[in-house]
Structure formats: C-alpha cells, structure tokens
Amino acid sequence: MIKNLYNYRELLKSNVKKEIRGKYKGSFLGILWSFINPLLQVAVYAIVFPYIMRVKTENYLQYLIVGIIPWTFFTTVLNQGMITVRMNAGIIKKVYFPREILPISVALSGLVNFFISCIIIVLFCVLGGVGISWHIILLPVFAVIQFFLTLGVVMALSAINIYVKDTEYLINFIVNMLFYATPILYPVTLFPQKIRWVLYANPLTELITAYRDIFMYHQLPALLPTLYLVCITIAVFFIGLLIFRKLEKGFAEEV
C-alpha cells in the first residue's frame, strides 16, 4: 500500500492542495476562513459560557482555543472526509487510482491546516501571558496521532456512506454529542467523579488534555492516558483501513 501511494504521490499532493484551496473557493477571504471560523467559535463560547456555566478556569480564553482548534481539525476532516468518495464519483467511475488517496488527502489537508492554526494558539499563549515552553516540540507527535485517529474514522465512514447514506446524518448527531463529551468548554472536574470515565473513554479527551499540557501547563502529558490514546488510534486506524479495503471494490458501481 505504501509503495502504491508513493507512486501516486503527485496525485496525493495535488489533491491535498485542492482540498485546502477548494473548501472556501469563491469566498472573499478564501482560505483565511479556515482560521477565522474557529476563532469566531471561540469568541462565542468565551463570551457566553462564563455566564451560563460559571466555569472558573484560569486563562479561560486560552483554554478554549487549545480545545477548539484541535476539535475543528477533527470535525473538518470528518465532514469533508465522509463525503469525499461521493464527491469524487466522476473520477472513480472513469479511472483507476488507489482509492485511499481520497480520505488520506482530506486528512492531510486538515493536518496542514492544523499546524498553521497552531500559530494562533502560540500567539494567544504568548500574548495572554501563559507563555510557551520547550514542550511544544511534542506537538507534532500528538498531531500525527490525531491524524491517524481521524483518518481511521474517516476511511470507515466515507466507505460506509456510499452504501448507506444515512451515515452522514447520524454522524452529525454523534459529533454533536461528542463535542459535549469532550472537555473543550469545561474542565473534566466539572463532572461528578462517578461518570468521569465516560469522558476518559473518549480518546479526544486524552488528545485535548495533552495539547493543553503542551501549550498551557508546560508539562509532559501523562503516560498512561497517552498509551491508551495510542492503542485506540492504532485499533481505529486499522479497523478503518480494513472496512475501506473491503468496500472500495464496489465504489464504482455504487456511487
């Protein structure tokens, strides 16, 4: 598979570019929207949430940003990735190429966007007085983990979505739930001890906690949660790949 992808690296490259440029094509600010959107979202929560939730977290603005930007990485890739096979029906019916390229380019474009967005995080941390430390070198490690985790999910869903169109709508609902089951707006401690395991079972909790350790608390992410995250990621990735492999042969007939 890797050799095959290497042979098709040019296609991968141009597809990634297309994904990055294409999403906001025609709008006045173009690609800038990929960065403005999460910031606007942060603004909404930063204004509203301190009132309704009475969340008392230090540096709440930074806390939100470090949560929302990785979350945006996840949902953008999910939303674009789920429909990518269907969107490319034209070329799928006409030519052969490794079909994995489609979800991979969506995930890669998300990763590139995320790295650029991290500049915003750093800016807010530095200007907001939180500062930055050497721990930031761990950022690529966790970004890559998130990349594979998301890619696994997207491969499975983009393939299933071809056969059962409901997937898209169902996933929209699940993502909505997941947003509140991840400590993005609030700290984990807000939940009663008894049900915190729900949050911890969600690998995105470990991810976002790790990002906060790196950016805000200047400490190493805890070992055990990270191990759990890596295991889940490996499992999700390979299950996703397996499902994609199983279903890709029918793409040209089904789309």
Partner: protein
C-alpha cells in the same frame, strides 16, 4: 510461451450486476422494504478467458450491451469481477467513454496535471511532457480556460492527448475514436500506429470496423457475455458482419 509475455490475462471471469428496480438508498428504505426489494442479478460476462500478448493490438467488438465496456472496466480495475481474476502487467492507462474524470472548474492545464497524476506520473515527468500534450491536443489557445467551457470535442481531445502521451505499456480505449473531427481522428490513428510499433499493448472497444481492420491484429467478438470468436481481425469482423445481417 512464458507467462510474463502476456500483458493481460483474464481468467474465468464472471461479472454480475445487481439491478434494482427501485434502489433503496437510505437505511429506512433498506429496513422497510428489505423484503420486497425488487432486484435481479444480471450476468454481463460469463466465464471469460482471454490472454493478450505484449505488443498486441486487440479490438473488442460486439453489439451494444454485449459486455465489451464492462470487460474493459474490469481490466482497468475500476470494477472487480464477481468470479475469476484479471492480471495486468505494466503501467496502464485507460480512456473510458466520454471524459476522463476532469475537474470542471480546473483549467485545461491543471487538468493535464491532475489527469496525468492519476495515471501515476510525477510532477517532473508531467512537466517534461506537458508541451507535447498541449501540442497534440491543439488546444493551445484554450489551455488556461476552465474545462467546463470546452466543447465535447475539445474535452475528448484533451483526454486523449493525456492518455496517449503518458507512455503506459497498456492502453485501454473505449469508443472514443468517433469523437473529434476527421483531422484529429487521423492524428489519433497515426499515434496509435506509432504506439503499436513501439510494442505497447492496446485494447480498443469500437464500432468503426474499418479503422479496426487497419489498426488491430486481433479481434475478439463478444456476444451476450461470451467470447463468440477470437482471432485474426478480418476473419472475426467478416463473421460478425454476417451475423449482424
């Protein structure tokens, strides 16, 4: 003969399509109607065995709906056989029906890059060839316009120019020779002859029997999903014409 001398091997291939009268697309439809889903399985190809030698130029002929295009799609690996297997050796490009999967909003030039990269070329290789491709397509004045503004003839010319210039070892072409004006058709044939001389394997689906006679050294007549006759082009065409009367 050594196995490696075959470019394409089709072994016991059967292809069945499920034909739905009313295809259930959503989960609800699938659950609610899962018993009275009217569908039938149509066998398009049955137990096909074909071996194509390296350097051969082969025509697939037959009436509409006989399974020629399906066979070609199977060779391209766009769809997969229900039973049996297909082996191809060497780099393969294909040109199926109208259009090669262009992006409508991209310019002609961008589509050349995109299309050639789908065939597995690197940027460097494309850059080395792009002038030849544009020259061959005769679309120099339009190459930086979006493809959606192209006429169907221009569209096809671009697609053909890319496919024919990527220097694959196997070229699969489906009924496109009829597109384009006389001048461009002649040019395509000249190029196909050139490729034939340089030991490339070519498989063509076509209804223009005269051109096939000139170009191909072997013809395979497919009828109702079976190989009806396989042999020298003239003989197969002669018998095919007799049967058509």
């Amino acid at each position: 003969m050594k196995r490696e001398e075959y470019s394409i091997e089709v072994k016991n291939v059967t292809k069945k399509f499920k034909v739905f009268y009313d295809k259930p697309n959503t989960l609800k439809e699938k659950l609610v109607f899962w018993k009275n889903n009217k569908s039938e399985t149509r066998t398009v190809l049955e137990d096909i065995n074909i071996k194509i030698k390296k350097g051969d130029t082969v025509a697939l002929i037959g009436v509409n709906g006989s399974g020629k295009s399906t066979l070609l799609k199977l060779m391209t690996k766009i769809i997969y056989p229900t039973k049996g297997s297909i082996i191809t050796r060497g780099k393969l490009t294909s040109l199926l029906e109208l259009g090669a999967g262009f992006h409508e909003d991209f310019t002609g030039r961008e589509n050349i890059y995109f299309n050639a990269s789908i065939f597995g070329l690197t940027r460097k290789e494309i850059e080395a060839k792009i002038d030849d491709i544009i020259e061959f397509s005769e679309l120099k004045d339009f190459i930086d316009n979006p493809v959606r503004t192209y006429s169907s003839g221009m569209y096809m010319r671009l697609a053909f120019s890319v496919a024919i210039n990527v220097e694959a070892e196997i070229l699969l072409i489906d009924e496109i020779l009829a597109v384009g004006d006389q001048h461009f058709q002649d040019k395509c044939f000249a190029k196909l002859h050139e490729l034939k001389e340089s030991d490339k394997t070519i498989v063509i689906v076509s209804h223009s029997l005269d051109s096939i006679k000139k170009l191909c050294n072997r013809a395979i007549w497919i009828s109702e999903g079976h190989v009806k006759k396989d042999g020298k082009t003239e003989e197969v065409i002669e018998e095919y014409l007799k049967a058509c009367k």
